[in-house]
């Protein structure tokens, strides 16, 4: 595209403003973190940070997909926990059994996501309440599978996933990149993916334009289940066990919404994307790390998280100053 390169760059920058701000914020915070960290920029420090960040990033990507259609998925945390419980049961044994186990975990996520999609699209329930209910069901299934913490995962597999490739690049980060390249980018460039943006931007206009509204929404929720399950698998690799921890699920659900917003995706839908969400998740996780290296009381962490969130969200609301019909502010 050499026709109007300057104009193109301008529009690209405008569209990527959210992700770029989140990326810059993360870069600055992470630089500060490694300079303050006693061990400096060592593979170990990077690996630990990556494992934590990637966990949240996957859950947050799961959240991004429904949010783009101007929905919400309150069940991502429960699917994450359920996948953890399934993985702690099935991902053991011979390499073939491990592969089948991984497939089962991901399949479980897809099924949960598909159920969400059905309830939202066919049942026409509001996503927030529909997924609150299905999330409780998934949490219940997880408890039934694993009433007490336990189980195991193949340790070689787990160590590989949470380790570093060649002692430098965290494997979890590679998994994240692979998921982006193999799932997100094709989705973003498919008709269904663009339809998701169209629906989030104006569902009526999308319908009037002949966009396959129902199918695209369904796919968004189904993929959300898949991403949440990938996160659950990673969690199992980190903890070597499974636990139907409802608190953990809830906290990941809320953090996922925060990461989505910090990453520049509008909760009204139609704008944003998974790349920004990844940086949003990394920013949230780095806050905790920073507080740690600066020796700040762990009890103050929620407060700082809240302040960062508030500032990020306010940046996104600046455009409301341009609204000319006051009535539009109250819709």
């Amino acid at each position: 595209m050499t026709a109007r390169p300057r104009g193109d760059l301008r529009y690209w920058l405008a569209a990527q403003r959210g992700p770029l701000i989140a990326a810059a914020l993360f870069a600055a915070m992470f630089a500060l973190f490694v300079t303050e960290h006693p061990a400096g920029l060592s593979a170990n420090v990077v690996n630990t940070a990556a494992n934590k960040g990637v966990l949240l990033a996957f859950v947050a990507i799961a959240q991004t997909l429904p949010v783009l259609t101007s929905g919400l998925d309150l069940s991502v945390g429960s699917v994450f926990v359920l996948a953890n419980c399934v993985a702690s049961t099935l991902v053991t044994g011979s390499p073939l059994e491990i592969a089948l186990g991984v497939a089962a975990v991901l399949g479980c996520g897809l099924v949960c996501g598909a159920l969400n999609g059905l309830v939202v699209v066919v049942g026409r329930l509001q996503p927030i309440i529909a997924t609150l209910a299905t999330g409780a069901i998934y949490g219940g299934v997880a408890l039934w599978l694993r009433p007490t913490p336990g189980g195991a995962i193949d340790e070689d597999f787990a160590d590989f996933v949470t380790g570093s490739a060649g002692g430098v690049v965290p494997v979890s980060l590679l998994v994240l990149i692979a998921a982006i390249v193999l799932v997100w980018i094709p989705y973003r460039r498919s008709v269904a993916g663009r339809a998701a943006y169209a629906i989030g931007s104006s569902e009526q206009a999308a319908y009037m334009s002949g966009v396959p509204v129902a199918r695209s929404k369904f796919l968004a929720y189904m993929l959300a289940g898949l991403f949440a399950a990938i996160a659950g698998l990673l969690l199992t690799c980190v903890t070597y066990s499974g636990e139907a921890n409802a608190l953990l699920g809830g906290s990941y659900t809320l953090s996922s919404v925060a990461a989505v917003v910090v990453g520049g995706t509008s909760l009204y839908g139609g704008a944003g994307g998974a790349i920004g969400t990844i940086f949003g998740a990394f920013v949230l996780r780095t806050i905790g790390d920073l507080l740690f290296v600066f020796d700040i009381d762990a009890l103050a962490q929620p407060l700082f998280l809240g302040v960062v969130l508030l500032v990020s969200v306010s940046l996104g609301s600046l455009r409301l100053l341009k609204v000319k019909k006051r009535l539009d502010l109250y819709r």
């Binding site: 595209m1 109007r4 104009g7 193109d8 529009y11 690209w12 405008a14 569209a15 094709p186 460039r189 498919s190 008709v191 663009r194 943006y197 169209a198 989030g200 931007s201 104006s202 009526q204 206009a205 999308a206 319908y207 009037m208 334009s209 002949g210 966009v211 396959p212 509008s266 839908g269 139609g270 704008a271 609204v323 000319k324 019909k325 006051r326 009535l327």
Partner: protein, 516 residues
Amino acid sequence: MTSLLRMEGISKRYGGVRALEDARLTCERGRIHAVLGENGAGKSTLLKVLAGVVAPDAGTIELDGVPVGFTGPAAARRAGIVSVFQELSLMPDLSVADNICITDPPKRWGLIDHRAQRRIAEQALARVGAEDIHPLAPVRDLPLSRRQMVEIAKALARDPKLLLLDEATSALTAADVAQVFGVLRQLRDRGLAIVFISHRMNEIAELADDCSVYRNGRHVSTFVAGSVPPGEIIEMMIGRDYSSVFPPRPPRRPRPPGPPGPAQRASEPPVLKVTQLSWAGRLRDIDFEIWPGEVIGLGGLDGQGQRELLLALFGALKGVRGEVAVNGVAVALSSPARTQLPGGGIALIPEDRKTEGLMLPMSVRDNLSFAAIDRFTRFGLIDRASEQTAIDAMIQLLRIRADGVDGPVAALSGGNQQKVVLGKWLMTRPQIILLNDPTRGIDVGTKQELYQLLHQLAADRAALLFYSTDYAELIGCCDRVLILYDGEIVRVLEGGALTEHNLVAAAHNLATEPAA
């Protein structure tokens, strides 16, 4: 050879309202067909049926002689029918190119090919002479006229067999209109059929090959363009039976026609004086004055800035330029709360009573006292006794059915709901009342009660600014009618010149006949 399109016996009701009744339309290939009629004649509904947006209650549609039924816009599009509607069908967050190619994007290896898509978008824009629009710009950032060009480019890029345009050029500049018309003529000459709705008579004269006139949901006449003079077309749109459809009008108050006499002008300032009011290109240099006891109508076609004018006066718009003086004192109207002025405020009876006028689940009593709650508040607490007395008086004045006053307002009929909206604002004892199409969807009996109430209010020296899409109502109720066209007051009709013919003619920005 069979006609491209034949619609017969199309009927559609919305609740008790008849939108279409046994309507028909026949279109030929290579012809441009204008659909004419007043506000509410059923034109838009007819096109929506054709576009698969509205399912008709009865009737048949034949395309190329084959009966069809559309389950949705996508089905109509597959049959080759593409539409451009008043409510834009663009996704604001998506880029221009994404919007143009939304339904059938070019693909490579199963994924959207952005280069090819951009090429298509650039060609589509160039075709309608809108090269100034960057294909990567988000639609959100474009002004309305550019969006409409994108909408037209999008429709043409789908290569339709039958193109429907519903007020598709209403926001365009004259140069854009000329360009678009040029493209439409080319398409027609290549055998495309085009159906369009426009309220601009000059556009119809310029573009149409055939015309069909509709009135009250019925087909009136179809003729070759140019074979019927404009005056006669307007007669068809109004209809001779028009007056019998509406209730007997309340008697005009005995008052000489013309502006308030010199005596009144000298003795007191106008209660509302608007000077050079402008907003966002949608309102332009509006000037007018209202004296106490006057009912001023806002006429013209729907969507020419009447609603915006009322909202501006009520403080709901931002960036309004110009001066507004109440009783000779300039006021800054920055929010609806600020319109509660000492000595009587400004009230707005909104367009949509269900969302902007009422809190539906709450009781009639609560709804009535909301706007005037300050009147009953002492030391931050609501004085229930004085509140109830005032509410009872209002219920009596409005003759709201008493058995429902403690129940949710949602349970009342539309007419009674509208009375509650009006009552809610009368409780504030306003001196200026803005009414935004207050009788829409209301039964005849309640309409008459409302008219009587308006006259009573005017007799009590309130000033009323009254927007209605119903011309008979404007004639029946108003002392003067300001005709808006494209955000400007183009004509003021009063006295003997206030006739249906002149209202319709002025609304289409045609010459009016002098007062009889």
